[in-house]
């Protein structure tokens, strides 16, 4: 069933008047996701840009219940919310925990892996801007190799952790990667995840123009280039069956990397190494 933008709900459940930067990739991800999830949703967000964008204690941009948790425990809080809903017999509510790359892959990982192990009926979303942008752009485990950050001025020297493969190894119901440049693909994945009776995990690449040092209006463009160059694969693992949802056209990786300020110190050998890695590893798992 092909989605069309005209059929999507008109209500704006997140995003209007939010406190984020102009051109924020995470806000785009939030708006697109809420088009799929609908108003019967409870969302928990740990410390991240997304939490501060949601508003302070007196004003909020969310039209749905939004709970700002401690940093480590968003999936655990969501598990508790689901347990409370089950105890009351409420079944038509989506429970979502929505964290950044630190709240998912680093600080928040123990609660996430616990919830995934219990196969809780909920969804965890990681919006990945590849840095700790809420605290000033420090290096995290989701930062790609060679990227300059505020605390690694010569660039990170270790690889990005493959969070999708880790979550796939939990044998949960649904694992998918998504990109804000492909909104209909993202919305279809959220709808699929919402119907699963168990745990689902969605990893969204949401560029941060401040951290990536790109112009604000190119946020979506770079999210698209990451997919088209093959550096970010869009696929889903639906109960063990792996399908690629967008076939890239394989532009040279330097067209994606070099315009970004964080990669301006990249050497030609490094670019060739990344290109060789894309050529070698693309489609692994088929």
């Amino acid at each position: 069933m092909a989605l069309s933008i005209a059929d999507l709900p008109k209500e704006e459940l997140f995003g209007q008047g939010h406190a984020g930067c102009g051109g924020c990739g995470a806000a785009v991800a939030g708006r697109q996701a809420m088009k799929a999830l609908g108003s019967r949703t409870i969302i928990t967000i740990p410390a991240s840009c997304m939490a501060t964008m949601g508003g302070s204690n007196l004003k909020t941009t969310w039209q749905i219940p939004f709970y700002h948790t401690l940093f480590e425990i968003a999936p655990a809080v969501s598990s508790g919310i689901r347990a409370a809903l089950d105890a009351q017999g409420i079944e038509d509510v989506n429970v979502v925990s929505w964290a950044g790359d630190a709240g998912t892959a680093d600080i928040g990982f123990q609660a996430l892996t616990g919830a995934a192990e219990r196969n809780e009926h909920m969804m965890h979303v990681c919006y990945d801007n590849e840095m700790y942008m809420n605290t000033g752009g420090q290096t995290g485990s989701q930062t790609p190799m060679f990227a300059k950050t505020s605390n690694m001025s010569k660039g990170k020297m270790i690889k990005k952790k493959n969070m999708l493969a880790i979550m796939e190894a939990h044998e949960i119901d649904y694992v998918a990667s998504a990109s804000i440049a492909y909104p209909l693909d993202l919305i279809a994945k959220f709808k699929k995840a919402a119907e699963k009776p168990g745990f689902s995990y969605i990893h969204i690449l949401a560029p941060c123009h401040r951290g990536w040092q790109i112009p604000a209006e190119k946020t979506i463009e770079f999210a698209r280039l990451a997919v088209e160059s093959g550096l970010f694969e869009l696929y889903e693992v639906d109960e063990g069956k792996r399908t690629r949802t967008v076939e890239p056209i394989f532009i040279p990786v330097q067209d994606y990397l070099l315009p970004q300020g964080r990669f301006k110190n990249l050497t030609q050998e490094a670019i060739q190494g990344i290109q060789a890695g894309v050529n070698r590893h693309y489609g692994r798992g088929e």
Binding site: A6, K10, G17, G25, A27, K59, T60, P215, A216, I220
Partner: protein, 94 residues
């Protein structure tokens, strides 16, 4: 046992829409031109929900727009152009 839980302030849903953040940051604003073919891509790419579809046409809410320029950059028909916000020495804020 009944506990007296503290009463914490709770935000009214969607209350930031009335006092949006960041419109004073705007240095350029979008304008939708006549060659728009209603592909509606911009309604999903706008981070602020400033462009929405209402009754079959695009409505631009400048009180929400931060002027990032994503809509103009992503429009396949080049039907959105960004116009500088300030004019003259003093500047005029819309």
């Amino acid at each position: 046992m009944v506990k007296n839980l503290p009463v914490v302030p709770t935000a009214k849903a969607g209350s930031l829409v009335d006092t949006p953040t960041g419109i004073t940051w705007r240095i350029q604003y979008p304008e939708i031109l006549e060659n728009c073919n209603m592909c509606l891509d911009c309604t999903l790419f706008c981070p602020d929900g400033a462009i929405v579809q209402q009754e079959g046409k695009l409505v631009l809410n400048l009180s929400l727009c931060k002027g990032c320029g994503i809509c103009a950059n992503e429009c396949k028909e080049n039907a959105i152009q960004m116009i500088p916000e300030y004019s003259g020495v003093q500047g005029v804020f819309r």
